[in-house]
Amino acid sequence: MAQRIDVKDLDVYYGTFHAVADVSMMIEARSVTALIGPSGCGKSTFLRTLNRMHEVIPGARVDGTVTVDGVDLYDPAVDPVAVRRQIGMVFQRPNPFPTMSIAENVLAGVRLNNRRISKSDAADLVETSLRGANLWKEVKDRLDRPGSSLSGGQQQRLCIARAIAVKPQILLMDEPASALDPISTLAIEDLIAELKNDYTIVIVTHNMQQAARVSDRTAFFNVAGTGEPGRLIEMDDTRTMFSTPSVQATEDYISGRFG
């Protein structure tokens, strides 16, 4: 089910602005890959190119290939909507649909796509997805309450449940815990550790301890200056990256000397 992602010579542009330059990396299946780097280095932009979400912004375009299971996501025959069904995404700020209940939020991927689902299948999907997101016990008695009635950390786990309910192969997370308190962050991190058994996970984080705690491999992005494109500086096993990185800039960033 989980797939690995093979990125080759990827350049991202917003109009005439060259945002990310020349990234090649291999993202392993059933593992957590963390993207770290200072603000504006293009790690979020890069993450959004992995499920073609960056195309939502007018003027954004990409050169290079992102291959999943032998298929280039940027092949003209590929439908970006289908890509996003296979590669889910969790955002920085929890964004449950305010008009929907907790259960409806979990089913949003099904219902919004006008797919029919029987009552019992829907109930099963809600339960397995919420269990998968470690939220079931907390909300099982109030599934018909609005999603916005939950705390921030619970809302974020609801968003993760919503993302895994469409049964993607890969989960992208854009700073999923940066708006949360330490306890909710811990809950999300535990969840990531469980989810990697079934999914390929790519997570952008500003928190280097978090990258060290949750990820198997870490990629460090950096940017030479404003107006310059962000670049992948190096990528290695997380343990190696945090103990003996091969590039000086990585060591400077990780040890807090800049950024």
Partner: protein, 318 residues
């Protein structure tokens, strides 16, 4: 720094002094502004209260169930008879049909502007919507008349012509208010839907419109309230009639504003001294009562809009 302050305590005013020193100027200005704002509010209230008071005082006497359910057919002179049923029917049908035209056109335009429109075309649409907002209503009436006169010849007067005239006035209001409401929908919700693999059109229908529907309904109701009192364009396009007409596609129709105008312009009735059944001021009385009904309809619409908006507003947690 700290050391110098402690060694020379008199160098700066004490904390007590700083916290309790009266700032007279600010207090006076604060008081003054409160008075100005409150009196501006009261002045704005004067015409509103006065209008309601006058219309109620002059209109309530003539208002009766009978007045609401009969037309003016066969009523003449100072007869103590006649009502506004035909005008209520005309107002509701013509305004309803105008809404039927304006809401799809206006809403789709707003969706285009917010979700799809880029560059020159979107700017042109926005510009012309702004221009349309300023069109005098009599011009809208002449436009609708001229448009239908091409097909039906001069002197054409029926319900749809009036509805088209009203929709020319109504559409820009619907576009503007819906556009505002759609822009208020957070982009995060659109992205959340896209990330679930929901196509753009379904995202617009099921997330964006669903989230904004309360505000859109309120905007539509305000647009209706804006045109339901229009007189001039309907005088041109619908004409004047004393009997009931349920057919929007044929024959003249009466509406409440035109009825008010018509009654008032007929003026006092010259009653013969021996006629017991003659009321000299009957035309004025009918005009005021019809005006009262028109205000009541607009108020009911606003109330309905509020209820709908409340029903659709996303439930707040806790």
């Amino acid at each position: 720094m700290t050391a110098t302050t402690t060694s020379r305590p008199d160098a700066r005013p004490s904390t007590r002094d700083l916290l309790t020193r009266p700032d007279t100027r600010r207090r006076v200005v604060d008081r003054l502004m409160a008075v100005v704002v409150t009196s501006a509010f009261l002045i704005a209230l004067v015409p509103l209260v006065s209008v309601i008071w006058t219309v109620l005082g002059n209109g309530i006497e003539r208002l009766s169930p009978y007045f609401l359910v009969v037309s003016m057919r066969g009523v003449f002179g100072g007869m103590d008879a006649g009502g506004i049923y035909h005008a209520i029917v005309g107002t509701l049908m013509v305004t309803g049909f105008a809404t039927l035209i304006s809401v799809p056109v206006g809403l789709l335009t707003a969706i285009y502007l917010v979700e799809y429109g880029r560059g020159r075309l979107a700017r042109a649409v926005t510009f012309f919507v702004d221009v349309m907002t300023g069109i005098p209503s009599i011009v809208a009436g002449l436009f609708a008349y001229a448009l239908f006169a091409i097909f039906f010849g001069p002197g054409v007067r029926f319900g749809v012509v009036g509805a088209v005239a009203l929709s020319v006035l109504m559409t820009p209001v619907v576009v503007r208010s819906s556009e505002e409401m759609l822009r208020l929908v957070p982009n995060e919700l659109r992205e959340a839907a896209y990330a679930l693999g929901v196509p753009k059109w379904l995202t617009i229908v099921k997330v964006v419109l669903r989230t904004a529907v309360g505000g859109i309904v309120t905007g539509v109701m305000l647009a209706i309230a804006r045109v339901i009192g229009e007189t001039a364009p309907l005088l041109i396009t619908l004409g004047v009639i004393d009997s009931i007409n349920y057919n929007l596609f044929e024959g003249r129709m009466m509406t409440l504003p035109v009825y008010v105008f018509r009654q008032y312009s007929q003026g006092l009735v010259p009653c013969a001294p021996e006629a017991a059944d003659c009321i000299a001021t009957i035309n004025y009385d009918r005009a005021w009562a019809a005006a009262l009904v028109l205000i009541a309809i607009v108020m009911l619409l606003n109330l309905g809009a509020r209820l709908v908006a409340r029903y659709f507003t996303p439930a707040r947690g806790h």
